[in-house]
C-alpha cells in the first residue's frame, strides 16, 4: 500500500472518531443566537477530514510519486530505520516524565541524559557521567539560583531542609 494512502486512512479514522465525539458535545444555553454551537466547527472539520482523506484513498496517485523505487510504499517508508534506538529514546522520555517529580530534577535529568547518551551508542562511561552531571547541575544552578525557578528536589528534599 502506498504511504500517503496509509496516512489518509489513519486520518480518516481519526476524523470519524472526532466527528462522532463532536455530535456528543452538549448544547450550551443561549448559543442558538448565532447558530454556531460548540459542535459546529468540529462537525465541519470532521466532514472536511473525511472528504479529503477519502479523496486521497480513492484517487490514483500522482504519476510523479507512484513508484515503488522512490520509496513511496508504506513498507519502504519504515524499512532500514534504527527503530531500536528511537524506541529506547521514547521510553526514556516517558520515563523521565514518570520520575521527574518523585526523584527530583537533578537525579531524573542525570539519569535521562546518561540513558540518552547510552542509547545513542556512546560507551565512554566517565565522559557520559561528567557531561550528564555537569550539564544538569549547571542548568539546575541557572534555573534555581539565578532565575529563581522552583524545581522539585524529589529524593534530595533533605538537602533543601538544611
Amino acid at each position: 500500500m502506498r504511504k500517503d494512502k496509509v496516512g489518509a486512512l489513519v486520518i480518516l479514522a481519526l476524523s470519524i472518531v472526532y466527528g462522532a465525539m463532536a455530535f456528543n458535545i452538549p448544547e450550551a444555553p443561549g448559543v442558538e443566537d448565532t447558530g454556531v454551537t460548540p459542535s459546529s466547527l468540529p462537525i465541519a472539520l470532521s466532514a472536511t477530514g473525511i472528504v479529503a482523506s477519502l479523496l486521497i484513498l480513492v484517487l490514483p496517485a500522482p504519476r510523479r510519486i507512484d513508484s515503488d523505487r522512490d520509496g513511496s510504499s508504506f513498507a519502504d517508508a519504515f524499512k532500514g530505520l534504527d527503530w531500536r534506538c528511537a524506541a529506547f529514546l521514547f521510553l526514556l522520555m516517558a520515563g523521565y516524565g514518570l520520575i521527574l517529580k518523585s526523584l527530583g530534577f537533578l537525579i531524573a535529568t542525570i539519569l535521562f541524559l546518561y540513558g540518552g547518551f547510552w542509547a545513542m551508542g556512546e560507551r565512554r562511561i566517565k565522559l557520559m557521567l561528567l557531561v550528564s552531571i555537569g550539564v544538569t547541575v549547571g542548568f539546575w544552578f541557572i534555573l534555581t539560583q539565578l532565575l529563581r525557578i522552583y524545581l522539585e528536589p524529589g529524593v534530595l528534599r533533605f538537602l533543601e531542609a538544611n
Binding site: 468540529p42 472539520l45 490514483p60 534504527d82 551508542g121 525557578i149
Partner: protein, 504 residues
C-alpha cells in the same frame, strides 16, 4: 510618522542589554539552526521557554536574532554538508555545496551572508513602508474579513505545499484545527474533546505542540535515519573552508541577482502560505533563466549567482512574511506561526491594534528584525568557522540534549508531568506522519489559526444576526473569499488532473 516610529524602535533596540540579546540570539540561532535536521521552527520553539521571564522588547529582540541566526544556520549546513535543515535552504545547497566541495566553503558562506543581509535589508525597507500602510487599512477590517483571511491563510498554506502534497497538506491543516478545539470552548465554557482529562481543560499548549512535532520529531528522525557523522562536519570545516573573502568583481556579478531576488522574495513572502521556500526556488529559477552562456552552465556546479539568489530571496521572504503577522495578526507560515507563539508568550498580540496602541512594540519588532540582520553579518560571519566547529559535538550527545531541552522547556511552563507524556505521544504521531511524507507546518498553522477562526466566525454571525450573508455582502470579505477559492481550486484541479493521468 514612519520616521518617528523608526526612532522609537531604534531607541528601544539600541541599549546595551538588547544588543547583547540580539547577539546571543543570533549565535544560539545559528548554532541550533545549523544542526542537521533542526530548522527555524524548532530553533525558535526551543528558545521560547528560555526567554519567558524577559522584558517583551528584549525577548522579541533576542527572538529576531534567533530567527535570522536559524535561517543562516540552515544555509550553513546546506553549504557545508548538503543537509538542508528545512525546505527553504534546499535551493542554497544546489550551488553552495559544490562550492564547498571545491574548497570554497568560506567564500560560499560569505556570499550567503552578504546576500541574506542584502535581502533582509531590502525586505526590511519594504516592511517599513508596507506594514504601517497595511496596518492602517486593516483597522477597518471586521470579524467577517478576518474569518475570510484565516480561511485564505489555511488554504494557501496547503495550496503552496508542493506538487502531490496538496491534499495531504489540507488534511494536516484540518488535523491542526481539530487539535485547537480540544479544551474549554471560549464563548460557551463547554468542554470539548478533553476525554475526561483535567489536564486538557485548558487545551493543548502551542509550545508543547510545536516542540513535540518539530524539535522532538526532527531530532528523532535524525536518529531513525543516521546520516552525516560528526567526522564529516569536522572534515568540512577544517579542510574545505578556504577564505571568507568575496572579490569586488564577484560582488558586481551577484549584485543584480541580489536586487531582483530581494524584490521577488519580499512579495512572495507577504503572500500567506507561500513563504521562503517558494521564493528561494523561484529566485533560483529566475536567475538560471536570465543567465547566459557560460554563466548558465555554471548553475548547479558552484555558481555564486545561483547561491546568492535563493539566499537573498529566502531572507527577503522571511521579512515579508512579517507583514501579515504584524498587521493582521495572521501568520502565513509555520515559522511565523511559531514567532506568533513567541510574541504571545511575551504578552504581545500582533494585529492592527498593536500598531495603533503599542507603536513602541510594533516598531521595535521591525527594528530588531533588522538589527538581527546586521549582527548576523558583523558578528556571525567572522565567527562562522568556529561556530561550525561546534557541530563536531558528537551526535550521541546532541540528540539527548535536544530532547532534554524540548521536554524541560515545556515542563517549566506548566510543571505538569502530563505535558511530557503528551509531548511523547505527539512526537510519535509526528514521526509517523513525517515518515509518510505528510507536511507538519500546515498542522501548526491550523492549530494557531483554529481558535481565531472559530472566534471570528461567531462574532461575524453575531453582528449579522446569524446570517451567513456577510460572506458576500461585504466587498472585502467577498474579494478575499474569491481569492481563496482560486487558490484552493487551481491546485485541487491540477492535483486531480495529475492523479487521473496516471494509469495504475
Amino acid at each position: 510618522m514612519v520616521l518617528e516610529g523608526i526612532m522609537t524602535g531604534l531607541s528601544t533596540a539600541f541599549t546595551f542589554t538588547n544588543i547583547l540579546m540580539v547577539s546571543l540570539g543570533v549565535f544560539a540561532g545559528t548554532f541550533i539552526g545549523m544542526l542537521p535536521g533542526l530548522g527555524p521552527i524548532s530553533t525558535i520553539a526551543l528558545m521560547i521557554p528560555i526567554t519567558y521571564g524577559f522584558e517583551p522588547s528584549s525577548g522579541l529582540i533576542l527572538m529576531a536574532g534567533v530567527y535570522y541566526g536559524a535561517v543562516f544556520g540552515g544555509s550553513t549546513s546546506s553549504i557545508l554538508l548538503n543537509t538542508p535543515g528545512e525546505a527553504s535552504t534546499v535551493a542554497t545547497s544546489f550551488d553552495g555545496y559544490p562550492l564547498a566541495q571545491a574548497g570554497k566553503a568560506g567564500k560560499a558562506l560569505a556570499t550567503a551572508a552578504y546576500s541574506s543581509f542584502s535581502g533582509g535589508t531590502i525586505g526590511a525597507l519594504f516592511l517599513l513602508l508596507a506594514a504601517p500602510a497595511l496596518a492602517v487599512v486593516s483597522l477597518s477590517f471586521q470579524s467577517a474579513d478576518y474569518f475570510a483571511l484565516m480561511v485564505m491563510g489555511l488554504t494557501a498554506v496547503s495550496a503552496f505545499a508542493g506538487k502531490g502534497q496538496f491534499l495531504k497538506a489540507i488534511l494536516m491543516t484540518v488535523l491542526g484545527v481539530m487539535l485547537s478545539t480540544v479544551g474549554t470552548d471560549n464563548s460557551t465554557g463547554i468542554q470539548r474533546f478533553t476525554l475526561g482529562q483535567l489536564d486538557l481543560i485548558d487545551g493543548i499548549s502551542f509550545l508543547l505542540l510545536a516542540m513535540a512535532t518539530f524539535a522532538l520529531s526532527e531530532a528523532l528522525i535524525s536518529v531513525l535515519k543516521p546520516g552525516e557523522t560528526s567526522n564529516a562536519v569536522e572534515t568540512a570545516v577544517k579542510e574545505k573552508f578556504g577564505s571568507l573573502k568575496v572579490s569586488k568583481q564577484e560582488f558586481k556579478e551577484i549584485a543584480p541577482s541580489v536586487g531582483r531576488s530581494s524584490v521577488l522574495g519580499f512579495f512572495i513572502g507577504v503572500l500567506p502560505g507561500a513563504g521562503a521556500t517558494i521564493a528561494s526556488f523561484l529566485a533560483y529559477g529566475m536567475e538560471q533563466a536570465l543567465a547566459k552562456g557560460a554563466a548558465k552552465l555554471q548553475f548547479g556546479k558552484g555558481s555564486l549567482k545561483g547561491l546568492a539568489a535563493p539566499e537573498t530571496a529566502n531572507n527577503a521572504a522571511s521579512t515579508g512574511s512579517f507583514v501579515p503577522l504584524l498587521t493582521l495578526g495572521i501568520p502565513g507560515s509555520g515559522t511565523t506561526a511559531v514567532m506568533l507563539g513567541a510574541l504571545i508568550s511575551y504578552g504581545v498580540q500582533p494585529g492592527p491594534r498593536l500598531f495603533a496602541e503599542r507603536p513602541d512594540v510594533f516598531w521595535s519588532v521591525i527594528v530588531s528584525m533588522y538589527l538581527g540582520n546586521v549582527v548576523l553579518l558583523i558578528l556571525n560571519l567572522p565567527l562562522i568557522p568556529y561556530i561550525a566547529r561546534l557541530l563536531a559535538v558528537p551526535k550521541p550527545f546532541l540528540v539527548p540534549f535536544v530532547l532534554f531541552f524540548s521536554l524541560i522547556g515545556v515542563y517549566l511552563v506548566s510543571f505538569n508531568n502530563f505535558d511530557i507524556y503528551l509531548m511523547v505521544g505527539f512526537a510519535a504521531c509526528a514521526l509517523f506522519f513525517r515518515l509518510l511524507d505528510f507536511p507538519m507546518a500546515p498542522m501548526l498553522l491550523g492549530f494557531v489559526l483554529g481558535g481565531l477562526l472559530e472566534e471570528n466566525l461567531r462574532r461575524a454571525l453575531l453582528i449579522n444576526d446569524s446570517s451567513l450573508s456577510f460572506l458576500w455582502s461585504r466587498p472585502i470579505t467577498l474579494i478575499i473569499l474569491v481569492i481563496t477559492a482560486v487558490v484552493l481550486f487551481l491546485p485541487l484541479y491540477r492535483s486531480l488532473v495529475e492523479r487521473f493521468r496516471f494509469q495504475p
